[in-house]
Amino acid sequence: MARKIPRSDTRRIARERIAILFQRARECIPLEPARSDRYVALARKISMKHRVRLDRGLRRQFCHHCGRLLVPGVNMRVRIRRGMVVITCLSCHQQTRFLARRER
């Protein structure tokens, strides 16, 4: 019989790895944006493969169109428009909209 690794265990490691990759992506984006893109892509692959939902902080940290890490004031523009948070990626000029809801 094959032993199985509990899913809780794989998900815990997946979360840790995602955090590490985003951290690395943030460190290397000023000098090597291509490497940073690669780390974000790897982190998203891990999240999808193991069905770990990225928390809101991480979800809004990269462009959902081109996959690049978004750095406020450098390659992203944030506007509040009609109850939406509109994020413009200045690398690919696409916009992503999130609902702006009052924190409860």
Partner: protein, 94 residues
């Protein structure tokens, strides 16, 4: 946390590594930081530039963030990085 028990399933990017043994003799002794990983290779940033090293039949000595040294048989790592997490390993690091 990355430990000798879960290193085969954890993130390798960012760790310091040295090649202990490789089928390509020019690569033994190479050391630096892992900057990328694919199914079959690791890319190591060393003082001679970025070197792509095959995993298969290569022994690596990895320095964990807490300073512990672990020797890994690269053959156990031959797998896409996102799939390694759920892989079952007969020997879990040493």
């Amino acid at each position: 946390m990355i430990s000798p028990q879960n290193i085969l399933r954890h993130e390798l990017i960012g760790l310091d590594v040295a090649v202990v043994e490789a089928s390509n003799p020019a690569l033994t002794g190479l050391s630096g930081q892992i900057i990328d990983e694919t199914r079959n290779t690791l890319v190591i940033r060393c003082d001679r530039g970025d070197k792509r090293v095959q995993k298969h039949r290569t022994r690596f000595r990895v320095t964990l963030p807490d300073g512990v040294l672990v020797e890994i048989d690269g053959s156990a790592l031959v797998m896409a990085p996102e799939r390694r997490i759920s892989a079952l390993h007969k020997t879990r690091g040493k």
